[in-house]
Amino acid sequence: EAEVAQSPRYKITEKSQAVAFWCDPISGHATLYWYRQILGQGPELLVQFQDESVVDDSQLPKDRFSAERLKGVDSTLKIQPAELGDSAMYLCASSFDRGGYTFGSGTRLTVV
């Protein structure tokens, strides 16, 4: 069964440092999503790509977060500088259409 790959699984970083997460969606899935899930809460959308274009980044803190999906395949989410409040699970998902969304295993970020 096809999977969404994410790396790293866990990341510990000091505040003010830069950190990056990588996501490889299921082959053929044009839409890619990055979600942030704070402990004890539901996932919230940070950014949505259609191919290489951003279609929704309204909840992305653009002063410190950036996301790209060059060539419309894999994607990188970056935080610079990291803050204590960024500690969360970062989930990547991809979809072919509205009927199915597949999530990766996530990256657990701890900022110290």
């Binding site: 969404v4 994410q6 839409t31 999503y33 004890g40 809460q41 539901g42 996932p43 919230e44 959308l45 949505q48 279609v55 929704d56 699970m89 989930l91 998902a93 979809s95 259409d97 509205r98 009927g99 199915g100 969304y101 597949t102 999530f103 990766g104 295993s105 996530g106 657990r108």
Partner: protein
């Protein structure tokens, strides 16, 4: 814009007892509905989804859910739970037209006691 409310943040039940996790949604247009399960430090695994057709949807691990359009609900049920069902459960919605994104509820923590 769509929204999801999961009415219980925590649900404790005894093993082999039935369980219902409640989910209500709000949207001005037609929607698709999903239930996901999340185990500690894992991603989200799809339990079941409603796209169209029969309002009673069966999923994996013996779970089922019923779509009720008039009550804008999509409650998840299982007739007999097992210890391994202990996890966080999320209800999610996407609009059939418009933004192709999933909006999640806050989650329900299901704890199974022996």
């Amino acid at each position: 814009a769509q929204s999801v409310t999961q009415l219980d943040s925590q649900v404790p039940v005894f093993e082999e007892a039935p369980v219902e996790l409640r989910c209500n949604y709000s949207s001005s247009v037609s929607v698709y509905l999903f239930w996901y399960v999340q185990y500690p430090n894992q991603g989200l695994q799809l339990l079941l989804k409603y796209l169209s057709g029969s309002t009673l949807v069966k999923g994996i691990n013996g779970f089922e859910a019923e779509f009720n359009k008039s009550q804008t609900s999509f409650h998840l049920r299982k007739p007999s739970v097992h210890i391994s069902d202990t996890a966080e459960y999320f209800c999610a919605v996407t609009e059939i037209q418009g933004a192709q994104k999933l909006v999640f509820g806050q989650g329900t923590r299901l704890t199974i006691n022996p």
